[in-house]
Symmetry: C2
Subunit: 824 residues, 2 copies
């Protein structure tokens, strides 16, 4: 069965996971058995990285085949697309978007196909996990149940050729959420559920006050017959629920207020308690829990990674040298862990880990694995400018008068772009675009542009029309921006230029503006809207002040997480939209809801004032659940909360008063998610601020501020030795060329060694590492107290077992004369 | 000039404040000069406590007289009442509350009187501070200027006999804020101003996005003639400003949405950026600043107090013993610092400070002054029950069968109330009310009562009427609550009972319910509303769960600070109300605003449907600025933000479009204050949670949880020696009886020593002390590096100066045989 036969573990490798793993085939060569260990170690490290629990670790060759099949980007994409397809289907099903309506048998067949795909994915998972683990894995079991249900329903639909009330479609997001790529959404959902208990407690307090005040309000205001809001206890309760969202304030107060001015005290007290106190308390409690949960999550992730490294390490050490991992083994691991990584980078990663300079990696070195593995390696620049790397001879010509040039540059920066020599002009441009004067000049231009746009638009008081849109100012400013972009790219070099978020923003806004100009020139009307995006250029002004840079940088950093939170919200929306469509589709229409208090908002009539006929529209009939897109917009309006009771009352008046439950539940659910979002932003922001306060030491290179940099020095001998080793172990690999490249670079520069820099952007995890420095040491100590004895025991057990010795594979021999760093 | 002559400082007292303080009179006796030192030390300590800066320290006898005159509760009350009177005047001035209208000459005369009072207060301050300090003191200078302005205006009003446009009345709260009792409000205002710079930065970002989207919106939607919201750039801007508050959503979207469904993207993007991102960022930035400011404030307060203690200490040491303060001196200080404190408490406070047991207080001991000075002293109970203190003989009778009783109690707690003997029944009640069973039984009763009320109210679907209100259930439940209260008071003792916030709450709700019953019985209709307050009894249910207890305790702790924040808000309200009244009084009325888009909300017409005439009311004309009370309600509605644009548009249509500035400014100001309130609640709550996480060790006595307890043991000899000392130094004082009481208590109990407990409730400052433990040590170290050399120098300087020696006053001699604790 496929590559399953390869998955066998030589017993000399020390495995500390529980379970029956000491299986082995008798007839595999030593080399093959090492390969298997590499593969399993790589799987452990992947599990550590993805926070997969080890009880789902593949246990036998068959499982390994399924595991490998189910763990690659093709499979992940398939999962994602199936999930999306299933969700998209609701665009075409029964209350469909008009232009996308499909026949019942078409969408039912599509659904069945997608479900079969999901079933296939689940089968692979079953194969990989084994039946027992499969059943223990809650998420997968829920998915299976939902799948079965959907299957039955889809077949029923296909047979009956008509959609029945399918509320269960609300469960479809489960298939999407279970995707590998939706890990962030899963984490968000988990965090939301973890924050729920304290949230619900305070929510009960909130509802309690609401009930008390509902009783009070009913007693106080029901004698007033002109007050519809408190006529019954139910009305009173609903009014106060809506009042909590302030959507019906001050209207709900007005009848009582007009009767007795002191009745406002009731409302002021209610709002002060509920809105300004308990609601804030809710936020505080969630924020507090969130803080705690974030820290615990970080801790468990950190320890999980450490445990994965422990496992992998035990698989990599040879019997001969049980306390260290050699380059050969490390390289073998990396070939499985990062198949696309070049030989040079694998070697550099090993060097970066090996800080102690010992011939082998100790476990302590290996613990840094995840910090080092994502680095992008580059030879360190000897010069300051990007064009220093251009063909060397050209540069040498200008080298002579460089110092003279530099003197001049200090005096008149602006004269340099006019020098004819390309290099000195590049230097000039480099200095120019880095100069404060240039930057501030651009700020002034942007500011003038901003005022210009404002004045221009203000003058168009009669209304805006597209034909009048290409004023000369547009072209002038666009030319300036274009020149600036070109100068900056030339001066800083394309790499440096595009590595800055701000420059990327500038570039894209400028390009979009150019596209808009082209659209205007060629009269392509549908693209006119591009033109009006140009005020966004003004956002650059906020670069001037440190605080804005901080805030906007945080904004960019938060973006991925925000996006995943948004996606989480959309998943809730989807479920609510399905339920809404099943129950409230085509319920509201123009001039409906005449019996409710909000009839005005649904009115659509022609009124004749004298000789003029005017259409008076209430518009609210547009907020309906007639298809999934409309539902989404309606749900967004409900999220914003203002006037949401009009939608609620409209639907309620056309159905039953139980419909209110739907709207109220939706409000509470979005309140939870929104509170989490607020807590998240607060937490992330305060965390970053505290971090920057804790680490106030200035950074020499401003680009390093958001990056992690490792430096590794490679000597010529080392490189040669490694090349030899690689040629022996994996002679056919094309990635060797990268190592040869290192040697060539040394030859070209005439250096005996080269320094390489590994860079990656700083993540939240890095920040947390610094913030919790002290606690982390405690956690580690605690962890090793609990876990260390176990691997030790297994080590002894394995040493006793009579197995073939992998140490007979020739290992790279270390030349003790050239120091521990170099390899013969 | 009064007691001014007393204010003289003997040069042997070391003063470290800058300035010419080494004045002295030649002919004062040593005793008098000590008295003066005590007084000045007390003033320093008061200044430390109130956070008065030392540059306002009275500098000479005249200043002292003024200082003493201006620093007592009578004067403070006068300040407060004058401030309140000035603010209250607006109830009676021109757009007056109808029932309170006064003639112009009456209220102008009242105002003049109040202003004269303020002027008098300022004169006293001038006298005390001296001209130079007075001018340097910003707040006082602003107050003076406002006073002059108001004076002129009041006189003008009196002469013209009519009120002109007096917007300056908006400045009146300054007189109130400057009061001693409004220190909390001042601190809030300072904190608001400190949080402003980051707030304004983010606000600019907010407004920037608003402007960009206004331009976009104008370009996109102005071609649609049926869309009134984006017809001009100004409309577009106002619409988006209102949209930021969500008050006009989804209405503002509807015309565009009905034309093109994709236009919703514009609004969704705008709201996502502004409402869900930048607004949260605003909160985050303010929260972050708030955190920082709180800590800095705590630090400066702490160091200010320490500096005050340094100053006071130097005034209290004698030349003979420059490193310590004896009981006599301490007592002298306390007589000025806390004139109402009994001799016993002064002595116990000294003992509490003197932890080292040395004969005198060192500076280190003295640093704890503020922690100890607010303690309430009580002899520690030897028994467990409050009734143990009742006459002893009665108790002894029952002592014999106590152990038997106790056995019984364990078996059947409930039988005990029926025992005839009063003491054993008290013990029974004590055990009963402390038993879990009793507590849960009461919770069950309360829960049943809650359900009962709900069902009862729900049944009244036809509407509520007062006459049907005395159901038997009301009387039954009230009786149960009454019995519970009596049992608890009897069992726990009145002191213990009323010291718990929850019990106080129970008690007051029950008493109020009884009053309601009486009101019903005697048909006093205006008090009927009391009856409906009884559902608040249900709040007790929240005692069951730990989290609620935490939350509600925090709520109680936050209450004083919340109240001061509320007061701050009211002060802003007042200023805005005055401005609103000056410009918008009587502007809106029923059926006004016909030209605006919100005319419907102001309509008041009779409509005839067939044969039925119905009054259709828009009610919004009630939200006006016709008098200060209406203005306050209107401003509260504007604070809640929902539909606030209806009020704005109504007023705007009747005045000019500049009126919008008023409403928008008000929105931004309340946004600032509200954000601060949210940040405050968040901060306080998270702080408390962190605190309780840091200090998880269980507290033995649950009552100690929120209290600070000091224990001091007093021996008979000590008490006698102290009594002798006091008899010598201040023979006439009646407070000596408290010390004699200590001796009597020892005689009665036959003990040779008594233990006294000093208690006070835990304050935020105590929590901060624990939270910042480590940082505090750094601050102190930093502080002493900066400040210690100075007192040392002055000490030497003073030692050199040839002055009469106060050490010739006989000091209490310490008996070295009885140990350092006892005094001969």
């Amino acid at each position: 069965d496929g590559g399953g036969g390869n998955y066998d573990i030589v017993n000399n490798a020390v495995i500390s996971t529980p379970g029956p793993q000491n299986y082995r085939a008798q007839n595999v060569s030593l080399r093959q058995s090492w390969e298997m260990n590499y593969q399993e170690a790589a799987i452990y490290l992947q599990e550590g990285e993805n926070n997969d629990k080890f009880f789902t670790h593949p246990r036998n060759p068959k499982a390994l085949a399924a595991y490998l099949f189910a763990h690659n980007h093709l499979f992940y994409m398939m999962e994602l697309l199936t999930g999306l397809l299933l969700m998209m289907l609701s665009l075409c099903e029964a209350p469909a978007v008009p232009s996308l309506r499909l026949d019942v048998y078409v969408h039912a067949t599509l659904e069945l196909l997608a479900l079969v795909m999901v079933a296939f994915e689940l089968c692979m998972k079953l194969r990989w996990l084994g039946f027992h683990t499969f059943i223990r894995h809650k998420r997968t079991m829920v998915k299976t149940c939902v799948l079965l249900l959907q299957f039955v329903e889809a077949i029923v639909v296909l047979i009956r050729q008509t959609s029945h009330v399918r509320v269960t479609r609300a469960l479809r997001p489960i298939f999407l959420v279970d995707c590998r790529y939706c890990g962030a959404v899963r984490r968000n959902l988990r965090q939301i559920f973890q924050s729920l208990p304290p949230f619900i407690d305070i929510l009960l307090l909130l509802l309690f006050f609401m009930v008390i005040f509902a009783i009070l309000g009913f007693c106080l205001f029901s004698p007033n017959t002109s007050d519809p809001y408190f006529s019954t206890l139910e009305n009173s309760l609903v009014s106060l629920f809506v009042l909590l969202t302030t959507a019906n304030f001050p209207d709900v107060m007005m009848p009582a207020y007009s009767k007795n001015r002191w009745s406002c005290v009731f409302f002021i007290v209610y709002l002060s308690i509920e809105l300004y106190f308990v609601m804030n308390l809710l936020l505080a409690v969630v924020f507090d829990t969130f803080n705690d949960v974030e820290k615990m999550k970080f801790k468990s992730l950190l320890l999980h990674k450490r445990s994965a490294i422990d496992h992998a390490f035990q698989l990599l050490v040879s019997r001969q040298r049980p306390m260290g991992v050699s380059l050969k083994q490390f390289d073998g691991l990396m070939r499985f862990y990062r198949p696309r990584m070049s030989a040079r980078d694998r070697f550099l990663t090993y060097k970066a880990l090996n800080t102690s300079g010992a011939p082998m990696l100790s476990l302590q070195d290996f613990y840094k694995f995840y910090e080092v593995t994502g680095l992008k390696w580059k030879a360190r620049r000897s010069g300051e400018h990007w064009f220093d790397d251009l063909p060397h001879t050209t540069f040498l010509i200008f080298k002579g008068n460089f110092s003279v040039l530099f003197l001049h540059l200090n005096i008149s920066v602006t004269r340099f772009p006019f020098l004819s020599a390309s290099f000195s002009s590049l230097i000039g441009i480099n200095l120019l675009v880095k100069s404060k004067a240039f930057q501030y000049a651009m700020y002034v231009v942007v500011a003038i542009n901003g005022v210009w746009i404002l004045v221009e638009t203000y003058k168009l008081n009669s209304g805006f029309s597209w034909s009048r849109l290409v004023p000369w100012s547009y072209i002038v400013f666009l030319t300036i921006y274009g020149v600036e972009v070109l100068l900056k790219i030339a001066g800083l070099g394309p790499m440096a230029y595009f590595s800055s978020g701000w420059n990327l923003f500038d570039f894209s806004v400028t390009v979009i503006a150019f596209l808009g100009l082209i659209a205007l020139a060629f009269n392509m009307e549908p693209f006119y809207f591009i033109v009006i995006l140009r005020p966004f250029q003004l956002l650059r002004l906020f670069k001037i002040k440190q605080r804005y840079r901080n805030v906007l940088d945080t904004m960019f950093e938060l973006f991925p997480r925000m996006a995943s939170l948004g996606l989480t919200l959309i998943i809730f929306y989807y479920s609510f939209a399905i339920v809404g469509m099943e129950f409230f589709a085509d319920v509201v229409y123009p001039n409906c809801c005449n019996t409710s208090t909000v009839a005005d908002s649904y009115r659509l009539i022609n009124i004749t004032y004298g000789n003029k006929t005017v259409l008076e529209e209430g518009y609210y009939y547009l907020n309906n659940f007639n298809n999934i897109l409309s539902s989404f917009v309606t749900l967004f309006e409900l999220t914003v909360v203002n006037n949401w009771y009009i939608t609620m009352e409209g639907v309620t008046s056309m159905t039953s008063h139980w419909s209110r439950l739907y709207f109220m539940t939706f409000y509470i659910v979005t309140m939870v998610v929104m509170t989490i979002i607020v807590a998240f932003i607060l937490d992330a922001f305060v965390f970053r601020m505290n971090y920057s306060r804790k680490n106030r030491e200035p950074v020499e290179n401003p680009e390093d501020e958001n990056g992690i940099v490792f430096e590794v020095e490679v000597s010529r001998d080392e490189a040669l030795a490694t090349l030899e080793l690689y040629k022996q172990t994996c002679p056919g690999q094309s990635s060797l060329s990268s190592l040869q490249g290192v040697l060539q670079a040394m030859d070209r520069g005439g250096h005996s060694s080269l320094v390489y820099q590994g860079r990656r952007s700083r993540t939240k995890s890095d920040l947390s590492m610094k913030m919790y420095e002290e606690e982390i040491q405690e956690w580690y100590a605690e962890y090793s107290r609990e876990n260390l004895p176990q691997p030790d025991q297994s080590l002894e057990r394995d040493l006793d077992s009579p197995v073939s010795d992998p140490s007979s594979i020739p290992e790279p021999q270390l030349n003790s004369q050239t120091g521990p760093h170099s390899i013969n």
